[in-house]
Amino acid sequence: MDIKIYENDKIKEKLFFKELASGLKIYFMPKEGYTKQYAIFSTNYGSIDNIFVPIGEKKAIEVPEGIAHFLEHKLFEEPEENIFDKFSKLGANVNAYTNFTQTAYLFSSTENFYENLELLVHFVQHPYFTDENVEKEKGIIAQEINMYRDNPNWRVFFNCLRAMYGEHPVKIDIAGTVESIQDISKELLYKCYNTFYNPNNMVLFIAGDLSFDEILRVIDKTERKDSKKIEEVNRVFKEEPKGVRENFIEESMMTSTPLFYIGFKDEDINLSGKERVKKDLMTNFILDMLFGSSSIFYNELYEEGIIDSSFGAYFTGKKSYGHSLIVGESKKPKEVYERVMNLFEKDPQSILNEDDFNRIKRKNIGGFLMSFNSVESIANNFIDLYFEEVLLIDYLEILESIEYKNLIERLKKHFVKENVVLSIINPLS
């Protein structure tokens, strides 16, 4: 297949694309004059994919919480030499992360890019799990889980999700629990790997002062040719009940000031592509207009000393879930909640102002353009949108297409009492 080139005159960037016979898709954004080179190899598999039909089988299975993240750790294992060492010798920094919907492996380098790229593709495509190395990892991940347990921001966030969702696995901690990871075995890891690490379920994105021809040559030479291209992975999501599981959740732990998350669960889900991105943007516009640092709400509560500059609001979601989160620190979290709810009782026309809309739009356009300054931002934004079937280079157009009149309906539908949760972490008394 030929190379496809996308261009955008406003952004003044180009994007190259090619799909290989294996189904692997490769995107490249040249960044002339940049010292750093960046590659990210990502699979459409995250912590929420915990019930699925394994490749070659007929029945769906449910896997232990935290297995996608565990797999991410274990992929760094090689029969002979540690993969970290190989990258280090080439002067590159290798890393990986797992979130709700994907697992990504990445490196940044300033030299030896193509050798590093070869390593990246090779190690992600060659798992090596043994009973011994799986057992060893349990201790390390248990420490990672404990580190997050002591983080009040993480706890207030996951408590909020747990209260909000009855069934959807977004409520599960990404790393699982110290107990759940004990059930992870070599066999289960291979099952997950073989199902979700098929080239057709993956994307490789590269940014830097590099040559696409050379990139393609290296990948063609390195990629595994023996894996059969499979179509869609069969994922199972239990039906999520309407409304929220509980509307209030609190806990006490070592922290100085109470932390709060006010969450609105989205019921307008299962959209895809541009429609979904547009919905995300509209919701974020509303939140920015109502609660951003130039909003009346923010400034009133700030001056009353009820909130501080940690206060913020954003919408986040993927195809199967979504939620608005209004978060911060406050000595009076319940009062913040009351005031938020009071605001939503007002006539949407009266609180959403068109001048504010235009300004927020301008801010978003500037912010989006500036995000192209960093190869990391480009890569992370690209990957995040990609599995939602939107290319980063088309994002500006979607952003510009948002109109003021779209917002009113969205506000009325999304910000309703039935779907709200208040999560608080209190200091120990």
Partner: protein, 424 residues
Amino acid sequence: MNLKSERIQIDNGIHLNLIYTDKFKSNLLSYYFLRPLSKDEVTKNALLPLVLKRGTEEYDTNLKIQKKLEETYGANFSISINKRGEKQVLRFTVESINGDYVGDKDNIYEVIDLLKDIIYNPTLEKGYFRKDYVNQEKENLKNRIEGRINDKRSYALDRCIEEMCKNEKFSIYPLGKVEDLDGIDENILYEHYKNVIITSPMEIFYVGEYDAKLIEYIKDIGKIERKELLNIPREQIISGVQTKNMVSEDLDVTQGKLVLGFRTGIPYEDRLYNGLIVASDILGGGPNSKLFRNVREKESLAYYITSTIYKYKSIMLIDGGIEFQNFEKTIDIINEQLEEMKKGNFTEEDIEISKKSIKSSTESIRDSAFLISEYFFSQILSMDNRSLEEILEDIDSVTKEEIVEAISHVVLDTIYFMKSSKNQ
């Protein structure tokens, strides 16, 4: 691209540093004020940026400032208050879109005006700062100081430094002390502000595209009459250790936080400092380091375990998150690995890996306007005239002997451990 900065003195103790580049879609302007890190003024200094960002003569509320920032295509305004060695540094930065991308060439002038106004033309009431703003920001600062505990890892590092450097200025927390706040009001703070504006050494950075007109515009700081400049002495470096210190703190946490504080006695001006940087990286830099391999990969004791050099004070801290009962075992392994280093038990390959990693992160500075400004600022602070290329060469030329010599100067001073008697 070779990084070059043009340094122009624009007033007594005020320098403008210009770094021309057309690589980014934005431009960045940063003001740094330098103050001595001292008990007398640390809290007042920390409060200043918080009050200044509340309002200018023209935009007298946060709401108006925020609206202005949004109108200028989402210019990012930020402040920071921190310490570099025994200097307290106040930074005011704005990064904004290059006007070419939005068809608005003059956008940058509006952004510069706003930043200058925030610094030089605060909103006043009866000739002083506004009382309500000062009171609100005192409360916010208090919360931030008390909120240190929320990030357990950085809290543990800070606490180790406090204990280790008890009798040195470096122990002062850069956001100040809650006890000081009662003694500060709008008059006292405003008098202090006037003094800061006229006596602080200042560095201004501009990174982006510019022409003569823009330089003149930035240079014009109005009718400030600068007084005699503050002299901020270089930090004292203590080598050797008088008393070994062991501090533990009982908090309701799940994971123990271990921090080991060492004296290195090697000042950054010393050639051996390059050897120290490489030594610390071999010991506890990246995932190929001795500590990562032994504490994490071999013994599964920790998720993170690293070693860091604090440049201006020549100290080294090793920190890790562990189970409470693994305290002694972890310390034993750390000591063992340190001894291995002192005996020279590491390979040429280890050295190469560390050099590459240090050079690569140093070179990456070129890809961020903010890091470029921070890099030149740090060069000025340490009166280091080397170019980025020379710094890279110096790292490259470090020998095994230098690494061994550097690490042999490292002496343990303080052990800090955060644990929980309740969750044991």
